[in-house]
């Protein structure tokens, strides 16, 4: 159940009451584990089995690794974990894509191959819990996990409902130690947790769904008839939508975890205030980018070695990062473009001081934002035809088809987010919120609640990152 549904409101109230009524830590953890299974089953009960299998296999392999002294055997266990986890992920997420491309390649050779239909439903959250599992087994192999977790603790780490389906990708080394001691949230944690949930829901339901999504949908449904105004408004709106949708989810997840006294790492840090692309990736989906850095980029050689091997590692990481979002050439292209920008940035590092002398940080951040916005086009478009149609619409003249209200509200909100990010690059939401007077805090939060109420009533729109 998504956080923006009435069912979740009821579910959360029940879980929180049950949690606060329990005293023993084992009971509290048991409740969280049980309710997390219910949360996942609310989407698709049969896929619980897949989650359990991934959980048990990785837990058992990590335990074997902990017990084993032979490096060769430990490596074999790690390999098994990688094969099992990535195998399942590949089968469900990339199976259809691979078959489709295999057929296309055969067709190039004049071979007409008709495979059986590959109609699999993608288990929700599989990309996220697979990365959770791998962070545990890889860290265990590297002897970086504090202590071997019990099966129930590991299962809770894998399935804890705030982060189960769309992250943030919490590392085992960050989460499991928290399960060793009784977590009773203070009133500060509970209050701030609830405030974060309200902010997150506001981002999702008001900004992403009500203001940005209609403008984006109109452009990508009919790019051929969009004017330049519609196209620019649409791509800027998608920058706003993808941020508010995913950051909204992460903010809710962090807030929900805090209500149970558990801490999650931050996932976004004013990303549209980034100056350059490496700065952007330090601020956008931080839990994924740091995961890719630690478990893929560095093992591939990282910044050691020659420029060539360094560039290869970087490009491979970004391509796989793109592909992680979905089985599509468009995601691969998106990852490749970002890989290209990062490479270019490294190659032209010497120019950075000159650029900074001539341009303000705000101008450089705006330029970065503009490139990032254009690069979202292949990410949002389902195919290259749509992507090219959107790009060509950017240069079209004519009056906007969008209603003035939609056009101006989405432009104003998108630019508002950018300005807020640029002016608060190093500031934390909590710091910012604490600095404003108490009545203003109340007023702001009240307006967020009223906003959420105003746009409620339709079918809740799913979070974009659920599909990844």
């Amino acid at each position: 159940m998504p956080f923006n549904s009435l069912t979740f409101l009821l579910f959360f109230a029940v879980v929180l009451c049950a949690y606060r009524c329990s005293r023993k830590w084992q009971v509290k953890k048991g409740l969280l584990l049980l309710f997390s299974q219910v949360f996942y089953a609310a989407w698709n009960p049969p896929f619980l089995v897949l989650l359990w299998v991934t959980t048990f296999v990785n837990w058992w392999l990590a335990r074997q690794m902990n017990r084993e002294s032979s490096e060769a055997r430990r490596k074999a266990y790690l390999l098994l974990s990688l094969i099992a986890s990535l195998g399942l992920l590949s089968y469900f997420k990339y199976g259809g894509f691979l078959v489709e491309n295999f057929v296309a390649i055969l067709a190039l050779w004049g071979i007409d191959f008709k495979p059986l239909p590959f109609n699999l439903i993608l288990p929700i959250g599989i990309s996220f819990y697979t990365f959770h599992a791998l962070s545990y087994t890889i860290d265990t192999y590297r002897r970086q996990t504090v202590a071997a977790a019990s099966l129930s603790d590991f299962a809770l780490y894998m399935s804890f409902f705030p982060q189960l389906v769309a992250g943030p990708i919490v590392r085992a080394t960050h989460f499991l130690p928290q399960l060793l001691t009784n977590r009773s949230p203070t009133s500060d944690q509970l209050g701030w947790g609830l405030i974060l949930v309200i902010f997150g829901l506001f981002q999702k339901t008001v900004l992403a769904d009500a203001i940005f999504a209609p403008v984006v949908d109109q452009l990508y449904l009919q790019p051929a008839i969009a004017s330049g105004w519609d196209a620019w408004a649409g791509i800027l709106a998608f920058s706003g939508q993808i941020f508010c949708d995913f950051s909204g989810y992460s903010t809710c997840a962090i807030g929900l975890a805090l209500c149970f006294g558990l801490h999650f790492p931050e996932n976004f840090r004013a990303p549209y205030g980034a100056i350059g692309f490496s700065d952007f990736w330090r601020r956008w989906h931080i839990s994924l980018s740091s995961w890719l850095r630690d478990y893929l980029y560095i093992p591939l050689g990282g910044s050691r070695g020659s420029s060539l091997s360094n560039g290869r590692a970087l490009m491979l990481t970004m391509l796989l990062g793109g592909l992680w979002h979905g089985a599509s050439w468009m995601f691969l292209l998106w990852g490749g473009l970002h890989g290209g920008y990062l490479l270019l940035e490294r190659l032209t590092q010497r120019l950075v001081p000159t650029l900074r002398r001539h341009f303000s940080d705000a101008a450089l951040a705006m330029a970065t934002f503009l490139v990032i916005t254009l690069t979202w086009i292949p990410f949002r478009a389902h195919d290259q035809t749509t992507a090219l149609a959107v790009v060509s619409a950017l240069f079209r003249t004519g009056f906007p088809n969008l209603l003035p209200n939609s056009l101006f509200s989405s432009l104003a909100c998108a630019l508002g987010i950018v300005v807020l990010h640029i002016t608060n690059r190093e500031r934390n939401l909590r710091d910012w919120f604490l600095k404003i007077p108490r009545p203003a805090q109340t007023m702001l939060l009240g307006l967020c609640l009223i906003g959420i109420f105003l746009v409620s009533g339709g079918e809740p729109r799913g979070f974009i990152y659920f599909q990844f």
């Binding site: 009960p45 931050e266 939401l429 710091d431 604490l434 009240g446």
Partner: protein, 365 residues
């Protein structure tokens, strides 16, 4: 706006958030209270929302009731014109309202035809015009039917939480005027609370999916003329914002110039498809009645000019084994006036439903 939301290391200040949260909640409650009062003051009241979940419930009933079901298929006319209480009392059958406002009846009828458990009486409201079973993949009725097909094939409709969500919405929203008529509170704020010229709420929706229209609450003839304008496809050459007299004259002239829509190959195919669906339902043991609901004034004039009876309705009647009822053929059904040209007023639905039961031969033996 979340700039960053780290929660692990930033608890140096320990403010008491309870007052902030309580204040914010009070603001929300105050907003809801004030808008509810304002809407009520303006004459609006809460309504049941005609949702997918409600339709799916009714669709399940259509199957489970077997021969005892009186299944109504169509769009807004059959939903507004027939009184389910009268049908229940006079026929001894259990009415099931499957009509979907503004959407094609075809996917629903095809779904009934495919379902061997449909053994009741199916009443299809056929609007004047060509019969075509070529419907696109989108549309409300297509979506509802496809959800039902998934469910009835033994597959769980994912995600499963939606069932509970729909139930919670049904518990909460019908009590708030902010959600009346299927709108969001934002729509209520913009179109009703802050709009001095807000259209009065003339439609009521009920839990059994029936609806009623109270045309005494709207301004006539403006409301009627706007309905006529929409019915003929909102032609660009007519300015909807001109004076009532001018608009009436221009609409009358426009409709006077309408010609019969020529038949096509698709027309014949549509008739065959319709008969296939009828025959399939009859094969299960069901009965089908195809009827056309009353219209009045310029709506009727437009329909009869574009879709002359001899070219359209008579061919439907000649090509189907279903019982057919045209309202003009029965004095009991023909004596009603549709205030907006297309639908009956709620004060007429009881009498019309009684007449329909007699004409259709559905009265208790």
């Amino acid at each position: 706006m979340a700039l960053s939301t780290s929660n692990s290391e930033l608890f140096a200040h320990r403010p008491d958030w309870i007052w902030v949260l309580a204040g914010a909640l009070l603001m929300l409650l105050a907003y809801v209270g004030i808008t509810e009062a304002a809407l009520s003051e303006k004459g609006f009241s809460p309504t049941v929302n005609d949702t997918e979940a409600l339709w799916l419930n009714e669709r399940e009933r259509a199957s489970s009731l077997g021969q005892g079901a009186l299944i109504l298929v169509g769009a807004s006319r059959i939903q507004l014109d027939l009184d389910l209480r009268v049908l229940r009392e006079k026929t001894g059958l259990e009415p099931v309202q499957l009509a979907i406002d503004g959407s094609s009846y075809v996917p629903v009828l095809q779904g009934l035809a495919r379902d061997p458990t449909i053994r009741g009486t199916v009443v299809v409201d056929l609007m004047p015009g060509p019969v075509s079973f070529e419907v696109g993949p989108t549309g409300t009725s297509q979506h509802y039917q496809s959800e039902y097909d998934t469910f009835s094939a033994g597959n769980v409709r994912w995600p499963t939480y939606r069932t509970l969500d729909a139930w919670l919405a049904r518990v909460i929203r019908p009590h708030l005027i902010n959600f009346a008529d299927g709108g969001r509170p934002w729509d209520s704020l913009v179109n009703r609370v802050t709009n001095a010229n807000a259209s009065p709420q003339y439609l009521s929706s009920f839990a059994d999916r029936s609806r009623q229209a109270d045309y005494q609450r709207v301004t006539m003839p403006d409301f009627y003329l706007r309905r006529v304008y929409r019915h003929i496809g909102s032609p660009v050459e007519i300015d909807i914002n001109q004076s009532t007299d001018h608009l009436a004259r221009q609409l009358t002239e426009y409709i006077g110039r309408l010609h019969p829509m020529p038949e096509s190959e698709q027309t014949q195919k549509g008739l065959l498809d319709l008969e296939d669906a009828v025959a399939a339902i009859q094969l299960h043991g069901g009965t089908v009645i195809i009827m056309t609901m009353p219209t009045s004034g310029l709506v009727q004039e437009a329909d009869s000019r574009r879709f002359p009876r001899a070219l359209y309705w008579d061919r439907v009647a000649a090509n189907t084994t279903a019982r057919t009822i045209h309202w003009q053929d029965h004095p009991g059904l023909a004596g009603f006036v549709c205030p907006d040209g297309s639908h009956l007023d709620k004060r007429d639905t009881v009498a019309f439903s009684n007449a329909f039961v007699i004409v259709a031969g559905l009265g208790r033996p």
